[in-house]
């Protein structure tokens, strides 16, 4: 479902729409699979019969003759011994539907296949360099013949990662006699034909000792990738290597699958597999604690993954890693965990819930970022980076970093407001909460490169060794001798002596960054080093629940993240609030509703509900924790996706504490809650 089968190119939109109505398509219905569990059964119809012949990256493991687009497996410790040592074993299943990114700006792009064989693309994309790379790879056209231009992007949330509709407009342009072709999706088309976030099914078996120590976990995750796995193979891998959540589990066996179905096709989505599996893990933690009769916050703290302990992939958590225990404690304190709930009207109850979270960027080991710093003749600075601006504001923090390093006020640093693959320094993708960390390090290196060049010139002019010079406040001077100095503006384009002699020239600094000692994971055991950094956090809610209608209102939302260092605290708070609301919206309302034949029933914002202003909790408390990571820029870690990972589990945990009813399927619509409460009665 959702696959374009014909395209019309016309002089204007009106003509194109009229022409589309004239197309008649005859379909022969074939047997379909519309559920991941069904798709995995032997004898299920195969969505891709020729799966074995498809080219793919060696990081992925499709299983020919099945609907499995990627199978990730992980083995840590000894699962049999782990369960032998367990005194209580708890097993549960969890589920969530497919959802839309609902970016404010839908997909839009222009392709121009030019008569001379060069290709130009203007696109609302998160990752212009990846658009260029995949297009080059698939059409066999070398990179230097493809130019991708990206202005500010009106929202992405992962939906504009990788490549999307760009190849279509490029090829249509060729067909249209080398004229540029533009495609812009309406919201309805976006729902029906744009990639979405995959659905998810999980089964977790946890073994614990009576005193509340997790000994073993057997984990099964299956992502509903839809009919084309595309980017969707990758969240399954990411969920696989982070599978336990932020807890130390000595013995783990995990299998994480991306599974083809005939649903609409999936791609990256903010959280990238983590929103999905943390729903399962954080509900499971609550249920296990309840089975043991222990406090769920204490249970989480007891099993917290602290520096020195090993992650599921066998990585020893670095000594300057973030602290999950501090995040959980901060949230518990702010929502007054353990204190009596506030009173409510008759028929309604109030309750609290907490859930923790973690995530590392899901990136290949060689994912790179780079930066160029150019000084203008007047001493102002142009910073050029490949990270796109999709509303997250990373470039503001990068400008601050450049200003700090270069000794100029931030107002004198301008970040080039567009990305153009011919001019912009390379960035792998704008995804994974990686760009402040990676572009940040690249900017620091570019600034230091520029400063080195400035010192070279200043050393000659000031007749002083470089290491005796200092750059600050738009000046360079001899340490201890401010009177022996120069204005930066007089050096950065070459220093001109009174007689016209000139030394040096325009300053251009450059820098790059790639992760240190990241590795591919072992194909059998999943062991290795996937993580540039782990960001930890926790979220908590206070809710009011109407027991007769299932209506739930989040009164207070608290989130704490160990960001290492908040380069721009306002942006961090903005992310925490925005991400919290998105998380709440996804948890309570958002879902693709299909009929029995896999057709979407709610392709509009009337019936695909998202949170509006009136749905935002009255009280939102963001908490920033700063345990710096020594290889991050000024100690910073990424936080963007983290902000939206665990609100649904916190709400469901609160519902559990209010009623004793466990809800393990999303979304937590009022009707679904009412049905769950009814089942118990």
């Amino acid at each position: 479902m959702g696959e374009p089968v014909a395209a019309v190119i016309a002089e204007d939109l009106e003509a194109a729409e009229e022409a589309v109505e004239l197309i008649e398509v005859e379909y022969e219905p074939l047997p379909a699979v519309l559920d991941v569990r069904e798709a995995l059964k032997p004898g299920a119809p195969l969505v891709h019969e020729e799966l074995g012949e498809y080219a793919h990256s060696p990081a992925f493991n499709p299983i020919p003759g099945t609907n499995i687009a990627n199978r990730f497996t992980l083995k840590k410790g000894n699962i049999v011994e782990g369960f032998d040592k367990s005194e209580v074993v708890v097993e549960n299943e969890f589920y969530m539907p497919q959802v839309s990114h609902v970016q404010m700006e839908t997909h839009v792009c222009i392709g121009h296949y030019m008569a001379d064989g060069n290709i130009r693309i203007w696109t609302s994309a998160q990752s212009p360099f990846t658009v260029r790379y995949i297009l080059s790879h698939s059409l066999g056209i070398p990179l230097h013949k493809i130019s991708v231009y990206t202005p500010y992007v009106g929202g992405g949330f992962g939906g504009k990662a990788g490549i999307n509709f760009e190849p279509l407009v490029v090829l249509l342009s060729k067909k249209a006699g080398y004229r540029p072709v533009k495609l812009e999706l309406t919201r309805e088309e976006h729902f029906l034909a744009a990639p979405l976030r995959q659905g998810f099914y999980a089964k977790i078996k946890t073994g614990v000792t009576k005193d509340g120590r997790i000994m073993a976990e057997k984990i099964f995750y299956a992502f509903d990738a839809g009919a084309y796995a595309d980017y969707g193979v990758n969240p399954a891998r990411a969920a696989g290597y982070s599978c336990t959540g932020p807890y130390y589990v000595p013995n783990v066996e995990a299998e994480s699958l991306a599974v083809y179905t005939n649903h609409q096709w999936g791609t990256a989505f903010r959280g990238f597999g983590h929103f999905e599996f943390l729903w399962a893990v954080e509900r499971q933690m609550e249920i296990v604690a309840s089975e043991l009769g222990v406090d769920p916050v204490g249970f989480r703290l007891k099993n917290a993954l602290l520096p020195g302990l090993t992650t599921p992939t066998g990585e020893v958590l670095r000594e300057d890693a973030g602290r999950i225990d501090q995040c959980i404690k901060a949230v518990a304190e702010e929502i007054r965990w353990g204190e009596k709930n506030r009173g409510s009207e008759p028929g309604k109850v109030r309750a609290k819930g907490i859930a923790a979270l973690w995530k590392a960027p899901a990136i290949p080991p060689n994912a790179a970022s780079s930066a160029i710093i150019k000084f203008n003749e007047d001493g102002t600075v142009l910073l050029s980076v490949g990270v796109t601006e999709i509303g997250q504001g990373t470039v503001t923090s990068l400008a601050q970093i450049a200003a700090e390093e270069l000794g100029v006020p931030v107002e004198k640093v301008r970040v080039v407001p567009f990305r153009h693959t011919d001019l912009t320094p390379y960035s792998w993708q704008t995804v994974a909460s990686r760009n402040l960390f990676m572009e940040g390090r690249a900017v620091i290196r570019a600034a230091r490169d520029a400063k080195e060049q400035i010192l070279e010139i200043a050393s000659q002019v000031l007749r002083a060794p470089k290491d005796d010079l200092i750059i600050k406040d738009e000046k360079v001077w001899v340490k201890g001798r401010p009177e022996w100095g120069l204005d930066l503006k007089d050096i950065v384009a070459g220093y001109v002596y009174p007689n016209g002699n000139t030394v040096g020239g325009p300053i251009i600094g450059r820098g790059y960054f790639v992760g240190t000692r990241l590795s591919y994971l072992d194909p059998e055991t999943g062991q290795g080093y996937p993580a540039l950094k782990w960001t930890f956090g926790a979220q908590g809610v206070e809710i009011e629940l109407d027991l007769e209608t299932g209506e739930v209102r989040v009164l207070k939302l608290v989130s704490a993240f160990d960001v290492g260092k908040a380069i721009n605290p306002m942006l961090v708070v903005g992310q925490i609030i925005g991400g919290g609301i998105q998380s709440l919206s996804l948890g309570m309302w958002e879902q693709y509703v299909y009929d029995g034949k896999g057709r979407m029933l709610n392709p509009n914002l009337t019936d695909y509900k998202i949170a509006r202003a009136g749905d935002i909790p009255e009280e939102i408390v963001p908490i920033i924790i700063e345990n710096p990571q020594s290889d991050g820029p000024y100690g910073a870690r990424g936080v963007a996706e983290l902000c939206m990972l665990s609100v649904p589990a916190a709400i469901a945990n609160a519902i559990f504490h209010a009623t004793g009813v466990n809800i393990n399927d999303l979304p937590l619509t009022y009707e679904n809650i009412w049905k769950a409460l009814n089942k118990k009665r």
Binding site: L13, E14, E17, E21, E188, G347, E548, T549, E551, R553, M588, W589, V593, L601, N602, T606, D607, K609, A611, R612, A613, G614, D615, T669, Y670, E671, W674, K675
Partner: protein, 288 residues
Amino acid sequence: MLPKFEYYSPTSLSEALELLEKYGEDARIIAGGTDLLVSMRDRILKPKYLIDIKKIPELRRIEYKEGVGLTIGAAVTLKDILEYPNVGKKYRVLWDAVKTIGDMILRNRATLVGNICNASPAADSAPALLILDARARIINRNDGVGEVPLERFFVGVKKTILKPTEIVKEVFVPEPPANCYGKYVKVMRVQSEDLAVVGVGGLAYRDRGDLVVRLAYSSVAPTPIRVKEVEEVFKKKNMPTDEKIEEAVKISSEKVSPISDVRGSAEYRLNLVKVATRRLLKELVEVV
């Protein structure tokens, strides 16, 4: 994009009726356009002619006459209604209901007459208008104005008695009973703005000491409905109020016929009818 159409913007009612007589089923009246344009964009409707009535001064009138009632012209927006002082004071249940339609942006354009002419089962203004005994004043070129009680105006899902050559000129809402209390309860899928999963309008007052109660619903039947049988229950003598309420809840839940759709299952809607009716009646009884 919208399908192609010709646009007329008459400045008098007679001109509008003339056009309607001429084009009949090929024409559509447009006021706020908040329902019509959506249907046109989805290509469910493809009228060849749109007749905009917003420039007709007499249709933009909202007027309250003490002891007579409230007249709301076809081009009066929901925002105008909310800001007209006597609506909030005298017709609280109507004000409540209008306040829940769409959001502020939409209420700036949408009209009350449009809301009833669209005849959605979920029309929020309808339960209030039904229990206030509102009447639609219908006009065509040849016969002048006729008056139809709203109960007879709705025929089915998105269907009214209106003929292609007719316009609802205005809605008339008579003077409500003295000291009445009314409220519209709308259960939605979210806290902010939504179509009603179930809507209940209630009105109560004392007639020489005897309690009189009226109830009407949206989103639970092919048309908005008033359940008059409930009114009989409250006329019964020697029945404790609590029992009357339970009896009314039972009758209402039997009289409605909700369907299952993407907005809610029939079973959930039925539950909401019971819960909302019970809560609303308790409040009405307590207040009057």
